[in-house]
Structures are given as structure tokens and as C-alpha cells.
Symmetry: C2
Subunit: 416 residues, 2 copies
């Protein structure tokens, strides 16, 4: 069969330059999250296909890379549909595997359990700039904590991490699924229409208030209801007063305690944050995944159009899998977007060791070679990076290439 | 569909305790290899199925997890065999992807190129203790270096890393494919019989000299040839004198330069090593993969029956893929075996931060909560790990569990 030089469609090779940035960012993420008490875990990249097809994953379930059954289990001649051929699939996110992990291991885990996952996921999406079919996700989740302490810790941990990587002047946009529901109810929309209303509301930043109004009316909602609904979004003042104004308007339509909990999150984070960012209440924030039950949030970077990560509370998801509800809340950093932003800004990972290259002439005698290697070993012990390499015929070109890689000192060894 | 709690057959969830050891070992590996001038790279976990079915992978090619074609490309009703259904597969090692990576990116890589890869591979092997269907490999390779400087650097880098992790009193067994070939030739075995002879020789440690003799004669080799062959393995003295004795006996059957190169590797490594290990010449060392062309080596740990890693020179492999030979040599650490040994020995990662738990009574007022979080943020800035959690009803049990996780200091916050 022919040899294919390119990586699989939509996936990419990662070269040394990018790996340096990725490794650095991963280390900052791990260390910072660890300081907040999150502990790393890992699940296999493959999941039982029935776990991936449970309707929790929404649109992502259409994008699964499926794995063929092996050996005697594969009965090609009897297969009537795709499902007969596959037993496993590659995970499309880290949340479904976390729910399975928790249900499988909860006896051996503390409560609350604060998990950190950094791992690849796969989606057979249409490839486009900055979007790949294999990409890294970086999630923190708190399982078993019903109070808003979970939200506060997640937002503080994520923003502290972003600050340490060097990001500033960004926003954390926050909203509540229960506020979204109350707004729909207040305006006279039926409960069944809620998902449809959210899908249209989600386009606000692209089509504006007028566009949303038109689309809602096209769906059959009355002009009056739509106006009542859209007027709710007209809020002024700071984040806290916007929350207060809207929640008071919603009155009995809104569940008790939502307002005070949301205010607590915003004020606690603002009072204890270490990074340069703002908490912003955004009643148009929807977030796609249907499994969210409470708070939802998103990172908005001025340098980047879309969101650079997000999360929220999903108190019913583990119960859907296992039958027993477990309060859960998570925050995911868009790792690939963060890396893209850093690479485009010419970011250099700080605290590099000194890079030294020893170039050794061909036929350098073995006895003397030992002395050179001993010297290299000493430099390495001292924390420096030493490359021991044969001198190329075109030494000038070799040194130019090494300089471009960051080698700053050269020593040459000749057989004289 | 039913929800499955267990991981996919033969794969495993990695819990916090093991992750701590894995993360620590990975960091030592990365830092040490980096000090030797190896640069991390990554390739996608999936490869084009034709690259994985090129016969380079030997037996592993039978163990591939294959990925189903997607969308219109999957024509189930027209499929006659498995090959019609799949376009990609999960990689079974890191060497085939490295060869593809190099042929795809060599214009942007230095020469010689020293690559470090740490990544998962998949093999649908029969699951057994300590062997999983998803496991981590950790490979270093030097591409473009024809001289034995590659072997010296690979062995030094690997053994320095093992030493830093805490391993000592181990052996690096070394041999040469060309010596194996010369021994077969010297004994009168035909060139075509070479692979068969090697497969039998490989059993020496299990069935002994007598067993090997019997099996060779069963294959039709004369008693005289077999005796001549097996007598070659009777060597005394230190590593260097064993190599000299054997190579002199082999005379013209052995390619020129093999003896001096092997001696150079052994003496250079012994003179410059930093870890506690011995270089041992082992003429029975075969190593399965057919692609090796020169030196081969293996790590033998006293604590572990089999090999804990190995490698060798494979100067023809990249050429088999691309048409242009590139000298290549690699060394792979058996990451999962190393971790298993460490876990079984009760290994604890050194230099842990201080772990502090703040337990907060339910209904603790928001205003005062901010003060607690501020305090936690300060501790985190100072390098400590702080868990902020709600106090459970059974506080004693909660603290016991946290102590077991390594939390050594507790502070409790009551609403009084």
C-alpha cells in the first residue's frame, strides 16, 4: 500500500517550536490548578460506543470517530447497519468520560472531588483554520459540591491560570439557565418552546436585537411577547445592579435564591481575584450543551472573536447515567485557542536553560570523545542543555540552523 | 442504550494517586532528555491505515484498532472486506508515526534531529496483568546521525533519566544485528534461515542451551552446525573482552568496523555514565522488530523479569517509506513498567507542596467567605496547595479521607 506523508485529514503534526509553548502552558495549568486542590486523572481515549451515544453530547454525537469490532466479533456479512460494526468510539469531550469515571470509582474518591483532566478529544468536524479533528481539552470539575463555592473556586482557578500564562484585560461572562427560563416564562413563551427560543437568542451577537425579534416572530411568537422578552435585555449599571434589576423584574417567575447566589459568585470573585479581568453579567449567554442546569460562564478575550473556554453547572448529568444525581460544575479552557493566541503573539516560554552545542569533527578519536561527553554531562548536571553532534560538512549552515533553534554557545572539537 | 460504568475492555482509569507518580516521572523524563538536546514533538494518535499496514510493524499490525470511514465514504452495502470499511487506525507504536513526521517535515527540522515523544499507543492484545490495550510509550530517536555518537547519547540520556527517577543496579544489554548475522553465517546457516534461527535463539533465557539446540535440530540444521553455533556463546571475561573474543572468532564473516564501533560505545558509556548500571554484551539478545539494522539494546532491571525498554539502529526504515534512507537510532522506555515498579515499591513523588484544607460550615455568610478565599489565594501564591470545601456532616470522616490524600493542615470556619 502507498505511504502517506501527510497526517490524517484535519489533524496535525506538532513541531518543536509549538511543543515548547504547549509544554510550558500545560505546566502552568497543572501547577496552578494543583494549588487549588484539583487532582489530575485520566480516562482512556476510547469509550464504549453506547456511552457516547446517550444524547448528552448533542451535535457532537454526529461527529464520533467509531472503532471497528475486532476478530470474531466483527461479522461483516451479517452487518445491517453501522452500529453492528462498532463497539467503541473516540471520546468527543472529557465530560462524558468523567461521569463514567466518577460512577466507576466514586468509592475511592473524596467528596467533593476536584478533578483536572488534560487530554485529546476527537470530532470529525469540517476542518477549518484553528479547528482540528484531534484537539486538546483542559477541564476542571467539582463533583459533589451543591453550593456556589464550586463556581467561585472554578472561576478563580481558571482566571488565576490565565493570568499566570500572561492573559489580562479579559471578561468572564456569566448567566444562569434558570434566569433564561424565567425570562421566557415572564414573556409568555411556553416551556416547550424554551430550547427554540435559546437557539435564536444565541445569535444576538451576530444578528442583533432586530434579527432576534424577526426570527422569534417567524417562529410564531406574538409581537407583544417578543417585545416584552427583548425589553428584559435592556439593562444599565454595573454587573451587580444589572442582576438585581433583571431578577426583581422577573419576580415570581424566577426560582428563589438564584439572584442571591449569582450575586454572591460575582462579588466573591471580584473581591478575591488575582488576574486582570472583569465579571460581566450577560443575559444573552446561552451555551450550547443541553445538560447545564444552573450557572453558565464563558471566557471572552479581546484578542479573539469567539469564546476561549467556558463551563457551568450540570447537576443532572451523572444521574442520567447512573440513576443517582450528583451536583457537578465544570470549567474548560479552550487549550488550542489559547495556544493559537500565544503563537500568533510571538510568545516565548520564559526561563529557558542555556543551550550549548558541541560540534565534533568526523573521526574524532574515541578516547578524546569521552572527555567531550564528560564535559557535556557536567553542563547538563548544572541545568544546561547540551547537544553533542557531529560537525556537518557545511558547518556554517549547521550553526545557523542551531542558532535559529536557540543554541547560543558553540564549541568545536577537532582531531588535531 | 445502556450506560457502561467500566472502561473499555483492557483499558483503565487512572486515579489521582497513580497520576501523581506518572506526572512526576514524565517531568523528570522531559527535563533530563531536554538537557541532552532532545526536543518534544507530537503526532496525531490516528494514522492513515496504509501507513500502519506496511509490514514494518510485524505482529503489531494484527492488533490495530481500526477506525470506520465516515459519512458518504462509508458504503456498507458495497463493502466486501474489512479494508473497504476503514480509512484510519490508532497507532501501535511511535516509530512509524515518527518516520512519517520526519518525511513530512524534514525541511523544517535540524540535522541530526533529536526527537522526544511521549504518547499513548493502542494494541488489541490479550489483556493481562500490567499489560493494557492503551499504554504510554516514551521514545527518543536521533535521525540523520550515522556514527555511534547516536548510540552513546541515547544510552547516556536514557540511563541518566532512569537514575534520576531512582533506579540503580540495572543492566543495559547490548548486541549487534550484524554480529547475529555473522554468527549464523560462521555456523553454516543459510541467509534465508536467519529469521528462524533468531526466533529460536530468542528463547535461550527460557529453554536454555539444550532447548535451543533441540529446536534448531528439529528445524533441520545439522548437529555439527548447531554445536558450532552454540559454542560461540561460551564467553568469559568482562564485556570488552567478550566482544573481542567473539568478533575475532567470527573473522571474515563479520563486517569490518562492527567490533571497534561496539567497543567504542561500551567504553564511552562506561567512562561517562552518571547512573548506577553496567553495560553487558549479550550475544543472545535478538529484539523482535525486523527493522533493526545494527546495534540493539535493552534495559534489564533486577526487580522485573522482562525488559523495561530497549531500542536500536534502524537505518533502512525511513527509506522503506520515502525512498531515501536516513540513518536512525532510537531508545524507548517501557513507561508503564517503570510506573508499575514504582507503585509496587510504594514510591512517593518528592517535593510535594504543603497541602492545607479549609473546611467551611454550611451557610457561612458570603461576606466572611471572601476573607477565607483571600487567605487561600495568599497561601496558593506562596506555593502551597489549598482546598476550600464545605464541611461535611460527618466532619471526622471527611478529615480522615483528606489526611489519606496527604492534607496535613486543617482550618475550620464556623458561622458564629
Amino acid at each position: 500500500m502507498a505511504f502517506v506523508k501527510k497526517p490524517v485529514t484535519g489533524m496535525k503534526d506538532i513541531l518543536p517550536e509549538e511543543m515548547q509553548v504547549r509544554d510550558y502552558v500545560q505546566n502552568v495549568i497543572k501547577e496552578t490548578y494543583r494549588s487549588f486542590g484539583f487532582t489530575p486523572i485520566e480516562t482512556p481515549c476510547m469509550e464504549n460506543i453506547s456511552n457516547l451515544s446517550s444524547k448528552q453530547g448533542g451535535e457532537n454525537e454526529k461527529l464520533i470517530f467509531k472503532v471497528l469490532k475486532r476478530g470474531e466479533k466483527l461479522k461483516l456479512e451479517m452487518a445491517e447497519c453501522e452500529a453492528d460494526l462498532v463497539d467503541n468510539g473516540l471520546r468527543y469531550d472529557l465530560t462524558v468520560p468523567l461521569a463514567r469515571f466518577y460512577s466507576n470509582n466514586s468509592n475511592n474518591l473524596p467528596s467533593p472531588f476536584k478533578a483536572l483532566q488534560i487530554g485529546n478529544v476527537w470530532r470529525a468536524d469540517r476542518p477549518q483554520r484553528g479547528r482540528y479533528r484531534q484537539f486538546m481539552q483542559c477541564d476542571i470539575d467539582i463533583l459533589g459540591e451543591p453550593s456556589n463555592l464550586a463556581e467561585i473556586e472554578l472561576i478563580l482557578a481558571t482566571t488565576t491560570t490565565l493570568g499566570k500564562i500572561g492573559f489580562g484585560n479579559f471578561e468572564i461572562r456569566i448567566n444562569e439557565r434558570r434566569i433564561l427560563k424565567a425570562m421566557a416564562k415572564y414573556s409568555g413563551f411556553s416551556e416547550e418552546a424554551f430550547d427554540k427560543v435559546c437557539i435564536i437568542l444565541d445569535k444576538m451577537d451576530k444578528i442583533g436585537r432586530e434579527g432576534v425579534s424577526e426570527e422569534l416572530q417567524k417562529e410564531g411568537f406574538s409581537e407583544q411577547s417578543v417585545k416584552k422578552y427583548l425589553d428584559l435585555f435592556e439593562l444599565t449599571g454595573d454587573t451587580a445592579s444589572k442582576i438585581e434589576t433583571l431578577c426583581e423584574k422577573l419576580g415570581d417567575c424566577l426560582e428563589e435564591g438564584v439572584k442571591s447566589s449569582l450575586l454572591e459568585i460575582v462579588t466573591s470573585v471580584e473581591a478575591t481575584k488575582t488576574a486582570d479581568f472583569k465579571m460581566v453579567f450577560d443575559p444573552t449567554l446561552v451555551r450550547g450543551m443541553g445538560y447545564y442546569t444552573g450557572t453558565i460562564f464563558e471566557i471572552a478575550m479581546p484578542e479573539f472573536g469567539g469564546s476561549c473556554g467556558g463551563g457551568g453547572r450540570y447537576d443532572k448529568m451523572i444521574g442520567n447515567f447512573t440513576g443517582n444525581d450528583v451536583p457537578a460544575c465544570g470549567f474548560s479552557i479552550g487549550f488550542e485557542r489559547i495556544i493559537l493566541l500565544l503563537l500568533e503573539s510571538g510568545f516565548q516560554a520564559p526561563t529557558q536553560p542555556k543551550k550549548i552545542a558541541y560540534l565534533i569533527e568526523k573521526n574524532y578519536p574515541a578516547q578524546k570523545l569521552c572527555e567531550v561527553i564528560k564535559k557535556a554531562q557536567k553542563e547538563r548536571e548544572a541545568g544546561n542543555q547540551v547537544l553533542v553532534a557531529r560537525m556537518n560538512k557545511n558547518k556554517k549552515f549547521q550553526k545557523e540552523k542551531l542558532s535559529a533553534e536557540g543554541y547560543e554557545a558553540f564549541e568545536e572539537f577537532f582531531n588535531r
